[in-house]
Amino acid sequence: MILHILNRSPSASRIFQQALDAMGPDDRLLLIEDAVQGALPQLVRYFEPVIGRLFALREDLVSRGLEGRCDDRVLVVDVDGFVTLTEEADKTVSWF
């Protein structure tokens, strides 16, 4: 299992599509930095194919005022959870 890490807003950058294309059926996707906007109910559709293995970093949601606004299906983890995700993955790939 590969942990994919995305840091660009899906409204501004098309890079999320490259990340999705590169994900295997068990791979996970973590949204950090500007990508956490993708956890909003209105934008989460971009990540429809990986719902259930879509994570967002709590600290980056909180600092942007987005913590209470996420779609229910997004798995919110804090930075400890981020480390755990890297422990559980064979390797990580960052998309920017």
Binding site: I5, V79, K91, T92
Partner: protein, 130 residues
């Protein structure tokens, strides 16, 4: 586990350096060994020794130094990326006939081979880019 980080974003311009530091602190707090941070692309600017951010902002340079101090994390700066961008230690400055230096210990100028070795020898490599 043994971790290596690859940092490619400049300090203050992008969140990459902040994200990497936060992740680094969580890695060591969970009992892992953060063996290496490798700075590449604009990440090399994290090593600029004269950095003087306002007092009410995080001092990234000091935070990197503290990782080295408290956890023995090696702070490696790609030499090719650094020279183009004006990051020279005393030895490289002398070699290029320049007065003064812009990078000093615990940051080390090294080749890309050290990144490749870090990727091979450690259990995890996590990249933070701008």
């Amino acid at each position: 586990m043994r971790y290596a980080l690859l940092v490619q974003g400049g300090p203050y311009s992008h969140q990459a350096s902040h994200s990497a530091l936060r992740f680094a602190q969580a890695v060591v707090a969970r009992g892992h060994h953060l063996a290496t941070v490798f700075f590449y692309h604009d990440g090399v600017y994290n090593a600029a020794r004269l950095s003087a951010p306002p007092q009410d902002e995080p001092h990234l340079l000091d935070a990197w130094r503290r990782l080295n101090d408290e956890h023995g994390t090696e702070l490696l700066v790609c030499i090719a990326a650094g020279l183009r961008r004006g990051l020279l230690d005393e030895r490289e400055a002398a070699r290029h006939g320049k007065q003064g230096h812009s990078l000093e210990a615990p940051f080390e100028l090294t080749g890309l081979g050290q990144l490749i070795e870090a990727g091979s020898h450690h259990d995890r490599l996590v990249t933070f880019s701008p």
